[in-house]
Amino acid sequence: MVTLPGPTTRINVMSFSAAPRRGALSVIELLVLAACIAAAAIVTNRHAADVMIQTFLWGGLALAWNIAGGYTGLISFGHAAFFGIGAYTSTILLLRYGISPWIGLAAGALMAASAGALLTTVCARLRGPFFILSTLAMGEVTRITALNGQSLTGGAEGLEIAPVASVANMVFIGKAPYLALILVYTLTLYALSVWIERSRYGFYLFATRDDDDAAAAIGINPIAMRISAMTLSAALTAIGGTLFAQYFLYLDPTHIISPDISFKFALICAVGGLGTAIGPILGALIIVPASELLRSLLSQSSSGLHLVIYGIIVTVVILYFPSGISGGIARVSSALSRMFVDEKKRT
């Protein structure tokens, strides 16, 4: 249906996120990525490596969420379902049939992609809160199904992967192989995000997000764009789910498919900057180590305090930096360059 744009009749879903990318990687992006790779190469401390693995994994998962939520405006609070589908598919295949998680990873991605395509087909015409709440309901349906399908998922007791180290089992001794594997996952997703921002496909997604009537008028099929973006995002989230399962070697529905996980994907993107490639990385670099640090500093005295602070940080960042940290950096750097240019003109 056609609606007249106006200040209150139509609330633009995401007018604050970034526009398509023109140049190649910026200096700031290169610095951040180089620092991540360098830190991964030199880390020896086990605890530091653990924090880095979690940071990169969450960064990658947030990048996957960002393809739907940031680039296409499909805010999903049900991505934990895709995460869980990925983790459970590969783990069940491994435990029941002895199929290597490398194959399970692809199977999980395929399952999640189908689920994502189905969900978006059903909800393709819903907007704003209606879409968000449908994804939340989808996540809960998945969680309750996993919780009650004891014979397959182990129910509330969860599933445990035997820590038998081998490449075929995707179980390794020490942290370094995990760190390398997860870094590859995250950097691949980063490269994919940069490609989306520069490609025709990405422009179609942005057009669909910003005004689907206008997009349809110039020959883009908004529903096909939504379905494809959600399918891609779901498949990539599921791959992250398999990696998560192989790293922690334990799964249970309450922790894997909880709405908290879905919220975390979204909040990392929102804090870092929605609809940008570097945003989810920056968000993960801030949120994951900070919550680990706060947890280790505060947990002895009081449980939950680190999450209180986390909640407050999220609220403050969203209200005062609505385009996230990457938007803040862009503002500062453009202000600096303007100052620099003015200086030159004056002299």
Binding site: R10, M14, V122, L126, I132, V141, P259, I318
Partner: protein, 295 residues
């Protein structure tokens, strides 16, 4: 036959309580066009406040409502002024994420202060159920249902008849036109948000004798509230009443005939079906879900 009558009546009673819990959400959505993701935590706060008053003063939980309702009104006003007002008019995502941050902070603050233990109040009516024919009902449930329905009807009448209600309806229809007609829309927003929170305060007091309170109790109920609100059509009070009773019935029947664990599954499936077939809710206006707002 007896079982069906029992399930029917207790489902309707439960639905009335779900409706009361959801009215604040639907009212705020209808007027401000925002979804408050911290709604469940408001309910959790109300239940903890009521629990604290009951255990400190030893009064009945219904008497505690006299203190809890104004406290939630003030709390809602503060949240509105500090967090929601700066985000109104901006992309709705900002409100979603900002209220979600509030929800995380409140949930964990409760964990910090009250620990994860389940808290209950002693039964108000010494546990003797009402008996109508072969149907047994807890007095707390019947009382909760009557209060819920009474408040819903009073609110509908208020919105239909009073000047303030007229201003609310005008703002729901067209915010800009309402402002041009001299309605103080910012003040109306504040009062609606605070009033919606006060209703959550009442819901908390009514629910405390029926449910235990714990830090994540809100998540459980907010999902029900979302389903109720969407089912009935966002922004509609009679819709909330209708949606609440639907969900109450779904829960009581599926809990008896299938398994309580699947009860939640059923109402989420009902929700997704409604989204598929009648996305504006059963009583909502056409086209609302396609634009993302209900006008």
């Amino acid at each position: 036959m007896n079982a069906i009558a029992q399930l029917l009546v207790s489902g309707i009673m439960l639905g009335g309580i779900y409706a009361l819990m959801s009215i604040g959400l639907t009212l705020i959505f209808g007027v401000l066009k925002i979804v408050n993701f911290a709604h469940g935590e408001f309910l959790m706060l109300a239940m903890y406040l009521a629990w604290t008053i009951v255990s400190l003063l030893g009064v009945s939980v219904y008497a505690a409502a006299i203190i809890v309702i104004p406290l939630l009104f003030v709390f809602g006003a503060l949240v509105y002024l500090l967090i929601v007002r700066p985000a109104v008019g901006k992309p709705h995502l900002i409100v979603v994420f900002a209220t979600m941050g509030v929800s995380i902070a409140m949930q964990n603050l409760a964990l910090l202060l009250m620990s994860a233990d389940l808290r209950d109040v002693p039964p108000v009516f010494a546990g003797t159920p009402i008996r109508i024919g072969s149907i047994y009902l807890r007095i707390e449930l019947v009382l909760g249902f009557l209060i819920s329905v009474g408040i819903s009807l009073a609110l509908m009448l208020f919105i239909k008849r009073s000047y303030f209600g007229k201003a609310i309806r005008a703002t729901v229809q067209d915010r800009d036109a309402a402002m041009l007609m001299g309605i103080n829309v910012p003040q109306l927003f504040l009062l609606t948000f605070a009033g919606g929170s006060a209703l959550v305060g009442l819901a908390g007091c009514i629910m405390l004798p029926l449910y235990s309170v714990f830090p994540t109790v809100g998540l459980n109920f907010v999902l029900i509230a979302f389903v109720v609100v969407v089912l009935g059509g966002m922004g509609s009070i009679e819709g909330a009443l209708f949606g609440g009773i639907c969900i109450g019935l779904v829960q009581s029947f599926s809990g008896y005939y299938v398994a309580p664990a699947y009860g939640q599954l059923f109402y989420f499936v009902v929700f997704l079906l409604v989204m598929l077939l009648r996305p504006n809710g059963l009583l909502g206006q056409r086209g609302a879900a396609m634009v993302g707002i209900n006008t």
